[in-house]
Symmetry: C2
Subunit: 348 residues, 2 copies
Amino acid sequence: MSDRLTIALDAMGGDAGPRMVISGANIARRRYPQVDFLIFGREAEVGPLLDRKKRLQAVSTLVHTDDVVGAEDKPSIALRSGRNSSMRLAINAVRDGRAAGVVSAGNTGALMAMAKFALKTLPGVDRPAMAGFFPTLHGESLMLDLGANVVCGARNLVDFAVMGNAFARCVLGVMQPTYGLLNVGSEELKGHEALQEASAILREANLPGQFVGFIEGDDIAQGTVDVVVTDGFTGNIALKSAEGTAKLVGEYLRVTFKSSLLAGLGYLLARSSLNKLRKRLDPRRYNGAIFLGLNGVTVKSHGGTDAFGFANAIGVAVDMNEHDIIEKTTADFAALTARTPQLRAAAG
Amino acid sequence: MSDRLTIALDAMGGDAGPRMVISGANIARRRYPQVDFLIFGREAEVGPLLDRKKRLQAVSTLVHTDDVVGAEDKPSIALRSGRNSSMRLAINAVRDGRAAGVVSAGNTGALMAMAKFALKTLPGVDRPAMAGFFPTLHGESLMLDLGANVVCGARNLVDFAVMGNAFARCVLGVMQPTYGLLNVGSEELKGHEALQEASAILREANLPGQFVGFIEGDDIAQGTVDVVVTDGFTGNIALKSAEGTAKLVGEYLRVTFKSSLLAGLGYLLARSSLNKLRKRLDPRRYNGAIFLGLNGVTVKSHGGTDAFGFANAIGVAVDMNEHDIIEKTTADFAALTARTPQLRAAAG
């Protein structure tokens, strides 16, 4: 019984609300039979959904709250007036040790502000970063920040590089990760000041792996580095631009295979292989961004995802726990920071 | 004879240098028999290339200069010490009326700084913007800035919106273009200050078409708007991220069609349709970004393109002239600015 894991869910987050969250939890329940759910939200909306999923209900505890953080709420407002919101109570469950992680598809900024306030950051971390994996020519890479920190100074970028480095070592198992700063050119003088400064610090720092300096937008999908470091504004737009393009190419392909009888026959023959590819590129597979730099597992699901995508975000929270990622990353981050005191001094 | 058009070429720009530029000019020569070329570069390198292309040589004048702007040169340095560079002399040819436009695959920042200095900006324009077309679900859209202005204030973004609006009306023939500001969320309070301010001004301004407010990265490929307005840092990374993703999906497809005998047969049947799609998505087709807001046609070719791509960039310069785009955009820009004095006042 001690091997059971409790995951807290914000039932009210996401464009499709409780219906999507509960269906997602039900998919996750089948995948992760060791998980119990602590679900926060409006009983009148969530209760009936659970009533129809008896097996999920059996492993779930529903905690009623009327309050909900709106998609348009400012993080500072949400932090002050959302103390009883489903999002905040779910985070509190992690803080109090009643849950091993929290998953929300709600307002990113509010989730970040509340998680930072309630869970606190790791020693030496100014701001946590939202990190996620994406497919590349060579497998998968990690990018951070994906939108939690819209404006970043050099110190934040350096922190992200160190956290991403530690995370890649722990999760990807790449002991000598390559990492780079996203910029508009690879030449040393390109980009704004914070990038220049962060690059100079990282060049001197002695992190494991290899700092390749500046990388460009097309390096993301090429998998030029294991860890792409960027501010949240750029990272969010780069990621969504890539997602939109993959969708566009998919749509063009659909039209192409319908454009002639031969093409249609070709599709039928290649269908099983093409379906594998479609699954591989399904953005729902990559749903679930991790807040790095916090004392606790916080996973942000895409607001527009469906139940399948939300189940994957729950999977991220489960993986983080089963592999003790927070502990390992924390230890690795501390060791890296200790080894490279100039990081703190220079970027302080 | 009066219908002939002279295009100035910087023979020394681009990763592959004169060989790529001259081969590109030769492709363009076949497409645009009305064009004469005024080519600037090192005679010892460019001369022999021209000697081998007699028909191109017949419509070309080679002007020797030893000086070249390096890919890593800072714009300010290039501006001061590159007065006799191939890039600068090609721009001067436009300034002096000896050429109707200039095409360079060289250092973007230097091209921007030199063109701005030599050609001057349109009345009311603080900084020119680099604009380019890209394929979407609904056809093509325009995005600006693509990397000429790494840091932008609200005034720049508003200028870009007005110039993009005028350009879309003149080139795309969309008289009521939709346009939006690229951001990390569509909610009104998202993003940094310059975006908030620009959005407030554009909301009040009475530009033709429809200001849809903030758009996100995935809206680019979806074709949500005709004109995507953004700073050069974000625009460059969004565009390259999209290009990298398209390339990745293409590579995945290649592997998929080789993954089984059936898939391979399917490919053979669909090949002609798939080749059409490949051509449609070929980034070289979209090569050639226009500097908007200048008194003169300046086209920036991707530095890493090949002869085919460079020929397309020359085609952009030709089109700009044949359709009097600068004159029309200038008139439209002036009219829009006059109609909306608050643009100048608020963003001044």
